[in-house]
């Protein structure tokens, strides 16, 4: 989240300032050891930057550099941009993209904040299950809400009248679809930001006889403000770069992301696709800078002295919480339920007989069970490698002394993938990893490149989650560790990792489910023996086999739900053990 945090970094850079009252001056040998440590840490983060450069920046450069070249590869300056801007329609696409993404962001962040509040600040029962339901959208391939929305609100839809004559094909459909799939992203960030609240603030508010309403505005909202800004930034960027939803349900409503599709897939004009991609980076970049500006002042909210917040009994407040959750949960159930129903229907809407036929994937094409197994392997690989990479890098950035410039560069690199549409990332990977001079071009067409690409594609939100969790831990943990002569490594394994385990599990699940459902980038990279289930869903739908497509989508969703259950159990167990650990510390 925050990039530059001068106050904090100077504090860890010179430990003598951090806890002046209790510290002794370190010996010379001690100082030397720390100095070497700093070099090692800086070097490790440099390596992290190099890795991300290879995974993000270098591939992107190979594609985006085409925006200033003509078809023959000669440099033409800004000619392509001029050509694109003069072709007309750009104003409407740009404007459409902005307002659709903006409105979706407002809706999603409000709903996600309401949900996060209900889950963390009330004593509603079954919050574990509620959390499970609320992340359901992320477990489903993007085609699933598209099918459901058409069955619900399309011309033959069961709820068509609810739109009062408006059409689902267009901005309404795009906003609904986008809200559905981006909601869990926002929720995940907000929950991480709100989960570890400091009970002392609430106690103080109660002692000062502040009304619940006032407490909400003076304690809860300020505590979550960085999470809110981050969630807004993420949702806005996700919506503006996504072409899946607008392509399927947007009709001819033009947005920038579908323009890339038209240029690249429709007309094979890579250079014009690159132009639109660059233009698409601009609003995302602005959001990034705004986010950075706001995040500057963030400091740890959960300090070594914090007391975990436990909401008190309050029926009224719990009822409000339930009310806040209701619209979102109803919407999610409606979409998923409709898709489940669609997967059993023989031929919508003219033959509504139910049958299990659509689940016989062996008979369907597009890869069948083989593709499903590939997807599982790919998702597990992405989860294991990705979680390790993300968390280690985030730890280096947040919890070790680093030059400001380096953390800035690293933060930029790790958030950049967010602003890159999957289609652009996939093509970039061909140009970069398939280049004859690339020493690792052998990985092209294998599962491994799919794993790398997927980690990159979903790096930003994983990184934000890890950083948010790390930021919430007081820097004093390391300072105290140092005074006890425990190295940062030791603090990492004995304190930081255990405390961050819930967030690590979140990141792991996030990477797993996204790897199961992703389509846009991998569609360019799979080989003959690495077809994926999510791609099969798309192919079956394209061939008109909507019900089998829905069935495969449900299978993917169910698999992700099982992963979520396992994660839930682990999390419960971790929560319990760290709670004991925390209490033991007091």
């Amino acid at each position: 989240m925050s990039v530059f945090d001068p106050g904090k970094s100077s504090m860890i850079d010179s430990p003598s300032f951090s806890t002046p009252a209790t510290r002794n001056w370190p010996t010379l040998a001690e100082l030397r050891r720390r100095l070497t440590d700093r070099w090692v840490f800086a070097l490790l983060l440099v390596i992290g930057c190099v890795v991300l450069t290879l995974l993000v920046l270098a591939p992107l450069y190979t594609l985006l550099s085409k925006s200033v070249e003509n078809k023959a590869g000669e440099f033409v300056g800004l000619e392509n941009f001029a050509h694109y801007l003069s072709s007309g329609g750009i104003e409407s696409a740009f404007f459409n993209s902005l307002w659709v993404a903006g409105l979706s962001t407002v809706i999603v962040v409000s709903l996600a904040f309401m949900a996060a509040w209900a889950l963390t600040r009330t004593r509603l029962p079954f919050t574990g299950w509620l959390r499970g339901v609320l992340v359901l959208p992320i477990l489903a391939p993007s085609l699933l809400p598209a099918i459901s929305l058409v069955y619900l609100f399309g011309n033959q839809g069961v709820l068509k009248s609810w739109l009062f004559g408006a059409e689902i094909y267009g901005p309404i459909g795009i906003i609904m679809g986008s809200c559905f799939w981006t909601f869990p992203h926002a929720l995940m960030i907000l929950l991480t930001a709100m989960d570890n609240a400091d009970g002392r603030h609430y106690e103080a508010a109660t002692a000062l006889k502040a009304s619940p309403w006032r407490t909400f505005w003076t304690v809860t909202v300020p505590g979550a403000r960085y999470g809110l800004v981050s969630a807004g930034f993420v949702v806005f960027t996700l919506v503006i770069t996504d072409f899946g939803v607008p392509k399927v349900i947007g009709g001819q409503f033009d947005v920038l992301a579908t323009d890339i599709y038209k240029q690249v897939i429709g007309q094979q004009k890579f250079e014009m696709g690159a132009v639109v991609s660059v233009l698409l980076l601009l609003p995302a970049m602005l959001a990034f800078i705004a986010d950075r500006y706001v995040q500057r002042k963030q400091s740890a909210s959960f300090t070594a002295r914090s007391v975990p917040y436990r909401p008190r009994q309050d029926r009224m407040r719990d009822a409000i919480g339930a009310l806040m959750l209701t619209p979102t949960i109803v919407f999610i159930f409606a979409i998923i339920g409709m898709a489940v129903y669609a997967s059993f229907v023989t031929f919508w809407p003219y033959n509504l007989q139910l049958s299990l036929n659509n689940y016989q994937f062996g008979r369907m094409d597009g890869g069948g069970w083989g593709a499903y197994i590939n997807s599982l392997k790919m998702a597990l690989g992405t989860m294991l490698i990705g979680t390790g990479l993300v968390f280690f890098n985030a730890w280096l950035m947040e919890r070790t002394p680093q030059p400001k410039l380096l953390t800035g560069v690293f933060q930029f690199l790790s958030l950049l993938p967010l602003a890159v549409p999957g289609l652009v990332l996939g093509l970039s990977y061909i140009f970069f990893f398939n280049h004859p001079d690339n020493p690792v071009n052998g990985i092209y067409g294998t599962l491994f490149i799919l794993i790398l690409c997927t980690i990159t594609h979903f790096y930003a939100v994983s990184h934000l989650t890890a950083v948010t969790a790390l930021k919430q831990l007081d820097q004093e943990f390391e300072a105290v560790g140092e005074s006890l002569n425990a190295s940062r490594w030791r603090v990492l394994f004995t304190v930081t990792l255990p405390l961050c385990l819930p967030a690590i599990l979140d990141v792991a699940l996030y990477l797993f489910v996204n790897a199961m459902t992703t389509v846009s980038a991998v569609v360019f990279l799979y080989g003959h023996d690495s077809q994926l289930a999510s791609v099969a869903v798309l192919n079956m739908d394209e061939a008109g086999d909507i019900a089998p497509a829905a069935a495969m989508a449900i299978l993917i969703t169910a698999t992700c739900a099982v992963a979520k259950l396992i994660q839930g159990v682990l999390r419960f167990w971790v929560d319990r053990s760290t709670r004991a650990w925390r209490q033991g510390m007091e």
Binding site: G251, T258, Q268, F347, P349, D365, A543, G544
Partner: protein, 337 residues
Amino acid sequence: MKHLKKALALTALMAAVNANAQTELTVYTAVEAEDLKKYAARFNEDHPDIKVNWVRDSTGVITARLLAEKDNPRADVVWGLAGTSLLLLKNEGMLTPYAPKGLEKLSLKFRDRDETPSWVGMDAWMAAVCVNTIEAEKNNLPMPTSWEDLTKPVYQGHVVMPNPNSSGTGFLDVSAWLQMMGEDKGWEFMDGLHQNISRYTHSGSKPCKMAASGETTIGVSFAFRGARLKEQGAPLEVVFPSEGLGWEVEATAIVDGTDKMEAAQTLVDWSITRQAMEMYNEGYAIVAMPGVAQPVKHFPANAEELIIDNDFGWAASNREAILTEWARRYDGKSEAK
């Protein structure tokens, strides 16, 4: 039990031997996924020593992928891709010209005109209009029989067609109208059609799928999709407008730089045999070898007479201008409604 073990060991051994003897070809294709197993199996009946490894996606994605891989091509053969796409690849110097055995038996329309052709045709997919009979009845719409019919006010808001800027099928229609009617009349026709269009889609099969599920009454799409959906039970009438139909050849080519030239040539040879043509004919009414095609269910018997004399060269060289003009006239305007 012992026998079983022996048998198993033997099979395993044979499989191993087989695997060793096999040449594996990476074949890129846009042919329907459900047909791929059949295509490979039939080919293997004659050539069991060549294993076909398919990489399949929609025409646009596969073409983009091939172009992006230009510096280091991964495909050995392209079997089943639109002629327009192959023309692009040819112009990029990405195809190895090869005259397969039996080339002389192909209709001239269905091969690259160079003496040693860069690509050879398989079959043709052609435009068609999918009409949902239930919705047509509900909305009291007469069955259209010509393109001109579709501009009648009665169809207002009931027609969906693919955007030619995103979809090859869309461009195929636009290019056919301009060729049949002449430029001025063609644009005039599209102006009229535009009044009735409820939306343009990004995919060529989507309009027919929307018609099949009643999301629209009329979808301008292609015949193969309409026939398949009808077979699945959709209440569709597949209409072939009387003025003539745009069409596109589906073809085979060898990708330049393959190190399995012999196997690649064997595959291309086989792809234009009579057997192969009969196989294509199971799904397509028009195939590249004259005199082979039998009528196909849900297709008109006189399919070959319905298609226009498509000038692919003209279409390719005017594509950019046509698409720009199309976007200027119709893109993004309709939201004002």
